[in-house]
């Protein structure tokens, strides 16, 4: 009897062993034999999935076959997206961390990124500003003087804003207006740590900051891109805060505003046709009024917030935008974004966001280029966008070498102008607004651009006769290790 029980016990465990091994082998063989050999794409992870490696003696010897096979098996595991969802959900089980804990870590992450900069005090030499040829209106770079000009250091709130003669409103053939020369300022007149601060009436709290030397290094990049533009072209840039930091402003008892010396610094250190604007400062009043310009559950700004900033940026090029209400709009509610996805809490679940989905006021066609000749047409609004990241309904998310938006009939808005938008995911919801001011909008995300396939970006700027360049980038990417480095490499 005891022997029989022991046998039964063995049978059950042995059956479990065989069952598991058979299941694992079936998965392995299925992947090897039935999964297409080519690369795939994961919308959820927004990346290309590995292709099946080809066996050769050489690839076996140098280990690339082994690595490739492992990556292939991982990437093409049956139901991978669901498995990752499950994995993610399981990791959240039992979590006691609140949204505030997450926000504090996110805040420190940015601080860490900034403070790992070289603090030796040595600054890179300022690259000579490129001079455009012909440049009848461009004033020569002035000799730096020791004292900053008040006009450059004062501005909106306590934040200096660039002083510039307003450009004329857009006309089909814009007449070049003499551009005022920026007042000479030295980099050392600015603090070593450039900050964007939130004011609560009694004290400053840092929203984000970068080391001056790092920012100064990138100013030459902005100048170089700006030098490619026609004489009346402008390079306008803004850095968009992470919504977590922007929303913190609303929790202050006596909110007072936002100040930043990052953009004034860039503005002072770059060529005359480069303008740097602070998204935080532009949206400061809206934030204080509690307007819905940043999501609560998603890291991005809302399309309404983007509208207000793009309107200011376009004004630099002499363009105006129709009212927000003029854009065809529908709303998705509830919308739970990337912050919720990474750190779901009841608090967020009970206060979901609303996603405005806008399209340009005129019919447009969107092309995503893989090479200068090869493209696919994609919808402006991708209705079947990843449900875990609905913000990517705009143009299907940040991907592809180059995305070009044109009117179905050209010229569509009559400006006959092309603009280049250098951006990360924050630029997605600006597309309807830029498309309202330019006949052609080229959207370039350096993280996904392949110079080998597309050629140099300067070549494309020439080829498409780009009139203006806009840089819209989230604070996390702005001065990280790779974003602007890629912009340099792709130039």
């Amino acid at each position: 009897m005891a022997n029989r029980r022991k046998k039964k016990k063995n049978r059950i465990l042995t059956a479990a062993a065989w069952l598991t091994m058979a299941a694992l082998l079936l998965i392995g063989l299925y992947e090897l034999l039935f999964v297409p050999a080519g690369t795939g794409f994961s919308a959820q992870e927004n990346r290309t999935l590995a292709a099946r490696p080809t066996f050769s003696f050489r690839s076996f010897l140098n280990g690339t076959f082994a690595d490739g096979l492992e990556t292939f098996l991982e990437d093409r595991f049956p139901g991978r997206d669901r498995v990752i969802d499950f994995d993610h959900a399981l990791r959240q089980v039992g979590s006691l961390a609140s949204w505030e804990d997450y926000a504090r870590v996110a805040e420190n992450d940015v601080a860490d990124m900034e403070y790992t900069e070289d603090l030796s005090g040595e600054e890179p030499e300022l690259t000579p500003r490129p001079t455009r040829t012909p440049a009848p209106t461009a004033a020569p770079t002035p000799e730096p003087t020791a004292e900053p000009t008040p006009a450059e250091t004062a501005g909106e709130g306590s934040t200096p804003e660039p002083t510039r003669t307003p450009e004329p409103t857009a006309t089909p053939v814009p007449t070049p207006t003499p551009r005022p020369t920026k007042a000479p300022v030295q980099a050392a007149d600015f603090p070593a740590e450039l900050r964007c601060d939130l004011l609560d009436g009694t004290q400053k709290k840092r929203a984000f900051s970068y080391m001056r030397s790092k920012v100064l290094h990138e100013c030459s990049l902005f100048d170089t891109y700006a030098s490619l533009l026609p004489e009346d072209g402008v390079f306008v840039m803004t850095i968009v805060p992470h919504s977590i930091r922007a929303n913190r402003l609303l929790t202050f008892k006596e909110p007072a505003g936002i100040v930043s010396d990052i953009e004034p610094f860039i503005h002072a250190m770059t060529a005359d046709n480069v303008t740097a604007m602070s998204t935080g400062v532009i949206l400061s009043d809206a934030l204080l009024r509690g307007e819905y310009v940043f999501f609560r559950t998603d890291m991005h700004w809302t399309p309404y917030g983007a509208y207000q900033v793009v309107a200011k940026m376009l004004a630099e090029a002499g363009e105006t935008l129709p009212p927000y209400e003029a854009f065809p709009l529908r709303q998705e509610h509830p919308f739970l974004g990337t912050i919720y996805r990474d750190k779901p809490t009841r608090q967020m679940q009970e206060n979901p966001d609303t996603l405005d989905i806008l399209t340009p006021t005129h019919p447009v066609i969107v092309r995503r280029y893989t090479t200068p000749e090869k493209f696919e047409e994609i919808p402006f609004i991708k209705e079947d966008a990843n449900p875990r990241d609905r913000y990517t309904v705009y143009l299907g998310g940040p991907k592809g070498n180059l995305t070009v938006i044109e009117g179905t009939e050209m010229p569509s808005v009559g400006t006959e102008k092309t603009c280049l938008v250098i951006t990360d995911s924050y630029g997605l919801c600006t597309a309807p607004f830029f498309a309202e001011a330019y006949d052609r909008v080229m959207i370039y995300d350096p993280r996904f651009y392949n110079r080998g396939e597309m050629g140099s970006l300067s070549g494309l700027i020439d080829q498409y006769r780009v009139q203006d360049i806009y840089l819209v980038v989230g604070e996390l990417h702005a001065f990280d290790e790779s974003f602007f480095l890629q912009c340099r490499r792709h130039f």
Binding site: K8, K9, N10, R11, I12, L13, T14, A15, A16, A17, W18, L19, T20, M21, A22, L24, L25, I27, G28, L29, E31, L32, F60, L61, G63, A66, D67, L69, E70, L73, E74, F77, R80, V83, I84, F86, D87, H88, L90, R91, V93, G94, S95, L96, A97, S98, D101, Y102, R104, V105, E107, N108, D112
Partner: protein
Amino acid sequence: MVFSSLTFLCLFFPLTVGLHYLVKNGTARNALLLAASLLFYAWGEPVWILAMLFATAVNYVCARIIVNTKSNRGRKLALVVGIVISLAALLYFKYAAFLVNNFCGLAGLAYRMTQPKLPIGISFYTFQIITYTVDVYRGQAPLQRNPLWLLLYVSLFPQLIAGPIVRYSDVAETIAHRQVTKQGMGEGFFRFSLGLGKKVLLANLCGEVLETLPLPAEMSFFSGWLAAALFLLQLYFDFAGYSDMAIGLGRMLGFRFLENFDAPLVSRSVSEFWRRWHISLGTFFREYVYIPLGGNRVSRGRWIFNMAVVWGLTGIWHGANWNFLLWGLYCGFLMVLERTVLKPVLAHTPAFFKHLITVILAVVGFVLFRSESFLDIGLQLRAMFAPWRVALSDPYAVYAVKNNPLLLGACLVCCLPLRKQAVAYFNRRKAAGRKNALRPYLKALLALGIAGLSVLFLVGQSFNPFLYFRF
């Protein structure tokens, strides 16, 4: 190839174990296992198989000479040649750059040697092959006349790359004649699943949490201790998990490997901790270094010297760096203290405090083990022991704890000798005449659940290194 890769789990594991089970002929089984083991080792870095073949060939010849030579001098010479050549390869690949660069640094020379790429598992198979030659010399193991079967012992894939270090005398009989039973399959699979779970569900997740904590220069008091404790847990579950998988796989293939971990974190003294942690390495150093040096049956001074040698070697075995040597000497120093000046004090210390002190000492020890420089060691120890010099807490540590209470709880529970306690519980029930009808179902469910969950986690995890690979 590693056990926690999909290539292993979805292809190599079921095919090898399944075919091995189906083949009934002993010679064919060995041939299959040898081919599988060589493929396992060659996967990814085939060139290093030559180093293993060379070490095996040298020791095969030396062992034959030992057996066939009558003169004591000749036998000794063959033994020394076998050991020296085996260790020379280890010395070159693992320590040459460290020694040369330190020497050049001291001598003020500009020359720096590039670190050669380390063949996977060289520290483990070198020691295994040495045990063969020494055991044959001592007459404790039979001569293996078939070089292929000796190669099978060295390259046996379950324990090839991260132990446990199996002595030839322990498996010699099993290589020649072994039985693959249904019971072995079931029990082995259960053990393998437990190991996979320890590695994937505990060690990897601890590693992920550890990665989110600040660097030593920015550590607070809380994150300093948390990082040290998490590293100990990660290392323990990583290595104990691998050992469990090796033992389980061995069981499925008809081998019985000795235990390598025995719940070391419940120890009440540092000596006990080391009797429970990486048992096979401790046994190797005791049998082949400590006892030949005279062990503890010598004068006190000589005994302290022996301890320093053994623990210095234990430390440096883990890696060619000063921090490993420091860590080894730290362990040896604690043991000497424990057996000398602290002995009367510890005899009257309550068990709880002894346990607490042992865990704290282990946690501190692994700070030395983990840090890549003395500066990092100093910074982390400052955070841990000088809270007035650093912040008490930081958002990363708070978030790590609040976001992972289940993981931390599971780690603490799994540090206990649960398997032993469960077996004892069921045996008590059996002795009392009560049925354990649910036991096989529970075991099967547990094994299936852990294995399934681990595979699912593996798909979504990119963080999957075996820490003991680099040793």
